[in-house]
């Protein structure tokens, strides 16, 4: 399975990628939404995108809207991974088309639980 990890922090990209790789994912990083769209446009369409909210150039919410506007990317599951924890923000992200929402700080178990809920835990990996 493939995951695109979108965060302007290299530290956070590394942490999220390391967790996902532990679950058997192949990952690719992107530093903001525009860079992530470039990856999709080049044909690398992931099963999962983990998306930070506050990023320069193109933020996470704009990325979610752009992905949802393109039927070719309908199969991509969108999971916000962000410090934005206000109810209104969560509702806004889900309304734009995000499937799940993880608030930083998180643990590997919390990510595993969300993947299990989404049916995106590769076979043989304990939740």
């Amino acid at each position: 399975m493939r995951a695109l990890v979108i965060d302007d922090s290299r530290a956070m990209r590394r942490i999220v990628a390391s967790i996902l790789e532990g679950f058997g994912y192949e990952t690719r990083p992107a530093g903001h939404g525009r860079e992530a769209l470039d990856v999709l446009e080049e044909g690398w369409v992931p099963d999962l995108a983990c998306i930070d909210w506050n990023m320069p150039v193109m933020d996470g919410l704009q990325f979610v809207s752009a992905v949802r506007a393109n039927p070719a990317w309908r199969s991509v599951t969108l999971m916000m991974v962000t410090t934005e924890s206000e109810h209104g923000q969560i509702v806004k992200a889900l309304a734009a088309g995000a499937h799940e929402y993880v608030i930083k700080p998180f643990t590997a178990d919390a990510i595993g639980d969300k993947l299990a809920l989404l049916g995106l835990l590769p076979t043989g990996v304990p939740a």
């Binding site: 290299r10 530290a11 590394r14 506050n54 206000e86 209104g88 930083k104 700080p105 643990t107």
Partner: protein
């Protein structure tokens, strides 16, 4: 104008938030030891702005030696790997971002979080509108400062605050 930060948050709550951030990001076995109000911590800072019913900054400052250790820990670097200034900036920014987001969730909302910055943190608030928490990690001094929008009084060299 919103209430001063000292009416909205106390140091104990900020320490608890920082502890959670530390164990999730720095390491499960890594603990922040609450400190006392000692001398101001000198070293690089990272901060985020909060804009909404409450306006201000959430600032993380760490002593110089601590920033390198912190970066190694967060990035899970080997002892022989070189820590670059870019690595340090990135780690401090992300820690400030997560601290800021979690502090914001405890303040009146809705509000927006700015993108994190690093450098010498601006000192904007008067003491009455500042919540300052001192802590240490592996013997390094750290400070988390939450500054409201009340401007600090400006004294000239001939005026000494009483």
């Amino acid at each position: 104008m919103s209430a001063p930060i000292t009416h909205l948050l106390d140091g104990e709550t900020v320490t608890a938030v920082a502890g959670e951030v530390w164990s999730a990001l720095v390491g499960e076995e890594e603990f922040l030891v609450p400190g006392h109000d000692g001398p101001v911590v000198l070293g690089p800072s990272a901060w985020v702005t909060v804009t909404g019913p409450w306006n201000g900054l959430v600032v993380l400052t760490c002593d110089e030696a601590g920033t390198a250790d912190l970066t190694r820990s967060v990035l899970q670097m080997r002892a022989d790997e070189e820590v670059t200034a870019e690595d340090v900036d990135d780690v401090l920014r992300e820690l400030a971002n997560i601290l800021g987001g979690n502090v914001k969730s405890l303040l009146p909302g809705p509000s927006a979080l700015g993108l994190p910055e690093t450098g010498v943190a601006p000192l904007r608030a008067a003491d009455v509108d500042t919540c300052r928490v001192a802590a240490s990690w592996r013997g390094h001094d750290l400070a988390i400062t939450i500054q409201g929008a009340t401007e600090a009084p400006v004294f000239t060299t001939t005026e000494v605050p009483q």
